[in-house]
Symmetry: C2
């Protein structure tokens, strides 16, 4: 039920170590105006809608189905929000949830820890975030990673995200770090919009580099994030580095978390930080790992040595068309869905049937 | 007759400074087994032929047309070797020529300065050159750059290259340095084989990174060249950095010299080297700069602030089909051809007619 796609031995050791162990789920909400580019993301039908996707997802993760949500989940024709998976798991397993606001354009409607970041500008300008904001988020990430880890000394921390347009900022960070990621990332579309993403990334890196080296040394990962990243990436990188020193860490996501992992490697080298790669895995869904229009496994192998885990969860047998849409390539991942599903297998021994049933029961209550 | 495509003001200042000034031409010969991949390059019809392209070009540059060359130029149906342009210029203008062997599989047939490098293995293995060889070539480049510059205190040094498969090693170095170069480079083909090049680059960077960080820190440009570069790149980077301190430098080539420029930037930062970017331009041909199947100008803008110059030389009015083939996109550049043509405009005031006539007279003698 849990597939190990890369770094097989290391991945199995990690699973062995944390089988039956407790977890906590920290989900970081962020925003980049990159997500407003027409067609860049399917996580919300219009650019206007996509400003509220993270807030609606956070509300649902925290409160579950409500008769009158302040921000309802986006309409479900093209596939339900992946937060259904995350919510079903944390509700059934009683996993503690911490929501973090790393930088949203609107205040969330549920209690969150405010990291006092900021939403990013479109990465194509090469000037996404103030450097001071990036440094602040990085420090906050390190502080909170240590705190969260202290709460589960014998377990693991699941780190999820919601950043609409975040696979494009991921491609930008990977490219800026020298990882050949073009054509390999995923998207919320059934067929990945590689050319559109690449054009945005090219424009951003060009704008960044054309400002010259001295003020903006583009080998410094913090400057790179400030130029073309988003607020979630740097905060999660800090949390994962700090937490890895004392507990397990599952970066719950696909392309975006592979970019965070590459960022952790680069930050570790740049600032000679100690962290424990053996404690860290990336956990995602089958729909991401096996997306024929991207190459997540190839990307993970390039970023090596990162173990990429995937839940075997299938929606093919579901009676709900908004779940079956995942099998046609819609949505795929988000809000730590893949990681939460893996936690259900790992901690509770849940298989396909139990997991699907929990998710379908949640939909029924909507 | 000389077009400045990027960094317009800086480019014109450079041209103003060196108009009517003397130049010397150093041409570096190198080899990478990447050039043997079927279809990767058109500089030689078969992989077997491409092992001798640099040697044949060097022989022609040094000796001009001979009744019985040891290594004849490749057959000319798909466009004549660009060394015809270089030879026509250095012969007519009496430009001193220095040939350097940075790493060839066979000994050249004409006098060359042996830098005691080595041919590179195919970059797809991520293990192209021994690190000691890269360091040696880098040091030799710095030494020779200073020597050559001392020979023309009031002029400029033209640095050309012949490396079959070199646009693919260029793409690899650019990508590894975090420059979004995919889809932007050129080739000796009329329509650039981007997908083939990218697959090779991905494989090389993946192999390099999978060996882990500590022995092979992939933010160190010397390690990057050792993994996925070729022997010409690092030697030319050293020469250009050292020479820029006391004379003008024209990197004569397209994609390959843009990669060398990016390498110079990275080496300068990594080792806190002093060099004079104001003294350095990249000079190439119209066929490269305006190739609709690549994006050399966009690439130069990304690597900013590098002035990209191009000769306006056209072969459209030529009576030789092997020259007119350039106008259909064959060959384009090599052996410093574009830079030598620019030198003819700059030093001697030559226009299209004189340059074309000199080249055609050389063909007649073949």
């Amino acid at each position: 039920m849990i597939h190990v796609y890369t770094q097989i031995e290391q991945g199995h050791r990690w699973l062995q170590r944390y089988r039956g162990r407790p977890s906590v789920f920290a989900c970081l909400l962020g925003f980049t105006a990159t997500g407003l580019i027409p067609g860049i993301s399917a996580a919300g039908a219009t650019p206007e809608d996509r400003q509220y996707t993270a807030i609606a997802d956070a509300e649902f993760l925290y409160k579950g189905p409500q008769p009158q949500p302040q921000y309802p989940l986006p309409p479900l024709q093209a596939g339900a929000s992946p937060v259904l998976i995350s919510r079903a798991v944390v509700e059934a397993l009683g996993i503690p949830v911490y929501l973090f606001n790393a930088g949203l354009p609107q205040p969330p409607t549920v209690p969150v820890i405010d990291l006092e970041g900021a939403p990013a500008q479109c990465l194509s300008g090469g000037n996404a975030l103030p450097l001071a904001t990036v440094k602040h988020l990085w420090e906050q990430g390190l502080i909170w990673g240590q705190k969260l880890a202290a709460s589960i000394p014998d377990g693991y921390l699941i780190l999820g995200e919601c950043v609409v347009g975040g696979t494009t900022t991921a491609l930008a960070i990977l490219t800026g770090l020298g990882v050949p990621a073009a054509g390999k990332v995923n998207s919320s579309h059934p067929s990945c919009n590689h050319a559109q993403k690449w054009a945005v990334v090219e424009a951003g890196l060009k704008a960044f580099r054309s400002r010259g080296d001295e003020e903006h040394p583009f080998q410094d990962p913090l400057h790179l994030v400030a130029a073309i990243g988003d607020p979630m990436q740097i905060a999660v990188a800090g949390m994962a580095i700090a937490a890895s020193r004392t507990c397990g860490v599952m970066l719950a996501g696909g392309t975006q978390m592979l970019a965070v992992y590459a960022l952790m490697q680069a930050l570790g080298r740049q600032y000679s930080l100690s962290w424990e790669p053996d404690q860290v895995v990336v956990g995602t869904t089958r729909w991401v790992a096996e997306d024929p229009t991207g190459d997540t496994v190839g990307l993970a192998e390039t970023i090596s040595p990162v173990p990429l885990l995937g839940t075997g969860l299938s929606f093919a047998p579901s009676r709900y068309p908004q779940l079956r849409a995942y099998e046609q390539g819609y949505v795929k991942e988000g809000m730590g869905a893949g990681g939460c599903a893996i936690a259900a297998h790992l901690t509770q021994g849940w298989h396909q049937e139990q997991l699907l049933q929990a998710i379908e029961m949640l939909i029924e209550r909507c």
